[in-house]
Amino acid sequence: MSTANTSASSDGKSHVHHHAHHFDSAEHEYNAAKFGTWTFLVTEILMFGGLFVGYILYHERFPEMFKAGATFLDWKMGALNTIVLLFSSLTMALSIYYMQHDNKKMTLINLYVTLACACIFMVVKYFEYTHKLHLGIGPGNYFQPHGHGEEVQRALGFLKDYPNIGMYFSFYFCMTGLHGSHVLIGMGLIIWLIRRTHRNEFSSKYYTAIECVGLFWHLVDLIWIYLFPLLYLVG
């Protein structure tokens, strides 16, 4: 009952994609999948939005405390991460472009580069987190700077003027942590895509999975585009 659309992928081993029985055609399934992904992105935007609204509200209520907290963020790391993520967004879009032209090799290259950029992003994040946590600058009650060194003294100084500076770092860790977890989920999905591309499951007739993971990845990048200025630059 399902009409199969065979795909002549470049290395001759054609792979048949059967669209599910309750769809009329592969095109129908493709549109449904994309619409479902966009609706899912709506829920992601609203979930992250809740954190952004909380951040902006408290930013207005304790402007100096947030400015003091922001001095601990290294904007260079943030900028590097932004560039890395933007580039990974490009390579993800290119991987879709090449699959639309049945160019499996270039698609794989782009997916691998996207994965590599995601790893760089997480490594940079790892350094930022360990640097702060090592100094005792943690979220909420875990804001107990200890040890010596310029940053710790500055943190202790701020703690005296603003007793609830721990809240700034709660927002910092919650927002970047939630975003980081979504980058990890994205990496998992890209690895899943790479595996399926190696097994020739995609072709110019069927690349829905790449496009949907691509949309998710672009959203993760979108959220970082807003996170970077809000946390690192404006402060």
């Binding site: 769809f23 619409f35 979930m47 909420g140 007793p163 721990g166 709660s170």
Partner: protein, 530 residues
């Protein structure tokens, strides 16, 4: 799939055998039945807590439990009924089963996601009940901070459970939006969809737009308890009223997630049992969308006395009045449909009329609570308890019962024993009014809600209310008996016992795995009783 062989006694229930075929099913009808079983079990559990609460409140002072246990019973009654019974109730159970058939589709858009939603509900419920090991949770289903941060018990587990259950709601909403947009039968434009589908479509929009904010709020609450993030904790400069804003931004749309599907069921029942086309089809459809849209602007009427400014109070009160208008329109349209109809008093119709009776009282008392000046007196008293039970039990539960009796022939191919079904209606209807009408008076007299003990002058009305509660309990037990009996030994029903006009009645009952042997083509509206 053997598409050719239309073996008449092969249907979705018996074409695959064994528990494993159920637990890994992708068929929206089977998932609907699995939701039915889960929701009915949770309803029994939540109902038991309700009976315990009413037993304790039967008389002044300690009756059967002490304050701490009462607070836990109150919390679990609220949390189970809201998160596990009434929100998944109609959309996931009746919606999953009936909606794809009503639009002539073979299944929902993402069957695997549909199964994942059911597992989310069960996983969330399991996590929520772990809190019982850590001496329960006593924060009320609203988890207001800073109490929910400082209380020493399993609140984290209940909150995490609700967090996971939230995803079941989001994924169901997502599934329904895509299904309605992409899988309608040829010829079925948006204006030829049954009103039950319209109601579920607007509910799905609410589920997708509102539940994520609950997810982040509950996640922040857990972070508050574990890390002391200080966002909602006044001692760390946070603002507990902000928690109320975030919580009610979800929870008011959530009460419309509860009532809109019920309105959809009632539209179907009234049209079918009056054998008359629905009055004002477009008005009812647009009212559903209107209510869904405006519901995001009114949450402040839960917080009139929370310390928000006078301006905010007035703003929310005004918009709440606006959301009252479409609700009133729908009620008038149902009654107008019955004008010059050919009405039969089968049990589904009794439940639909019971719905209109109780929902009207719930609605007008809702307007009373929306009036700011009066709400200051009524807020957090038993007047509010009575109002939302009239709308939730009188509204959604009546519609669930009506929906089960109405679609029983389609789901299980058997009719319900009418006399016992009517007896269960009378018991539930009478018991309900005896329970909750006195609570309006208790609220007006100033008895606060969530009170373990009350002043002696409130005792007589509380006694009447408790007796009414046990009548409801008996009524629902009878209803359970009626349903179980009907599934096994009900009279065999044909494909369309009620002579209804919507698409699901063109399929055999119980329907085959792929719903329709031949793809239905729609040529006319859903209620063409000419």
């Amino acid at each position: 799939m053997a598409s050719g062989a239309h073996d008449p006694n092969l249907n979705y229930l018996n074409w695959e055998k064994g528990l494993w075929s159920w637990l890994t099913t992708l068929d929206h009808k089977r998932i609907g039945i699995m939701y039915m079983i889960s929701v009915m079990c949770f309803f029994a559990l939540g109902g038991t807590f309700a009976m315990l609460i009413r037993w304790e409140l039967f008389s002044v002072g300690k009756t059967i439990m002490d304050a701490k246990q009462y607070n836990q019973a109150m919390t679990f009654h609220g949390a189970i009924m809201v998160f596990m019974v009434i929100i998944p109730g109609i959309p996931a159970f009746l919606g999953n089963f009936i909606m794809p058939m009503q639009i002539g589709a073979k299944d929902v858009a993402f069957p695997r996601l549909n199964l994942a939603s059911w597992y989310c509900l069960m996983a969330g419920a399991a996590v929520a009940f772990i809190s019982l090991i850590y001496n329960g949770a006593d924060t009320g289903w609203t988890f207001y901070t800073p109490y929910s941060i400082t209380t020493q018990n399993g609140t984290i587990w209940l909150v995490t459970g609700a967090f996971i259950i939230g995803f079941s709601s989001i994924l169901t909403g997502l599934n329904f939006i895509v299904t309605v947009h992409k899988l309608r039968a040829p010829g079925m434009s948006f204006w030829r969809m049954p009103l039950f589908v319209w109601a579920l479509y607007s509910t799905a929009i609410l589920q997708v737009l509102a539940t994520p904010v609950l997810a982040i709020t509950l996640a922040l609450l857990v972070a508050e308890r574990l890390l002391g993030v200080g966002i909602f904790d006044p001692k760390l400069g946070g603002d507990p009223v902000l928690f109320q804003h975030f919580f009610w931004f979800y929870s008011h749309p959530a009460v419309y997630i509860m009532i809109l599907p019920a309105m959809g069921v009632v539209s179907e029942l009234i049209a079918t049992f009056s054998q008359k086309t629905i009055f004002g089809y477009k008005a009812i459809a647009l009212s559903s969308i209107g209510i869904a849209a405006v519901s995001f602007f009114v949450w402040g009427h839960h917080m009139f006395v929370s310390g928000q400014s006078e301006f905010a109070g007035i703003l929310f009160s005004f918009i709440t009045m606006l959301v009252g208008v479409p609700t009133a329109i729908k009620t008038f349209n149902w009654v107008a449909t019955m004008y010059k109809g050919s009405i039969r008093f089968d049990s589904p119709m009794l439940y639909a009329m019971g719905f209109i009776f109780l929902f009207t009282i719930g609605g007008v008392t809702g307007i009373m609570l929306a009036v700011v000046g009066v709400d200051v007196h009524f807020h957090d008293t038993y007047f509010v308890v009575a109002h939302f039970h009239y709308v939730m039990v009188g509204g959604t539960l009546m519609a669930i019962m009506g929906g089960i009796y109405y679609w029983m022939p389609k789901m299980f191919g058997r009719m319900v024993n009418e006399t016992w079904a009517r007896i269960s209606f009378v018991l539930v209807f009478v018991g309900f009014n005896v329970t909750f009408f006195p609570q309006f008076i208790l609220g007006a007299m100033g008895m606060p809600r969530r009170y373990y003990d009350y002043l002696p002058e409130y005792e007589s009305l509380n006694r009447i209310s408790s007796m009414g509660a046990w009548t409801i309990g008996v009524g629902f037990l009878v209803a359970l008996g009626v349903i179980l009996h009907a599934i096994k030994r009900g009279k065999i029903a044909g494909p369309n016992p009620w002579n209804a006009k919507t698409l699901e009645w063109t399929a055999p009952s119980p329907p085959p795995h792929e719903n329709f042997h031949v793809q239905p083509v729609v040529t006319a509206g859903p209620y063409e009783y000419r």
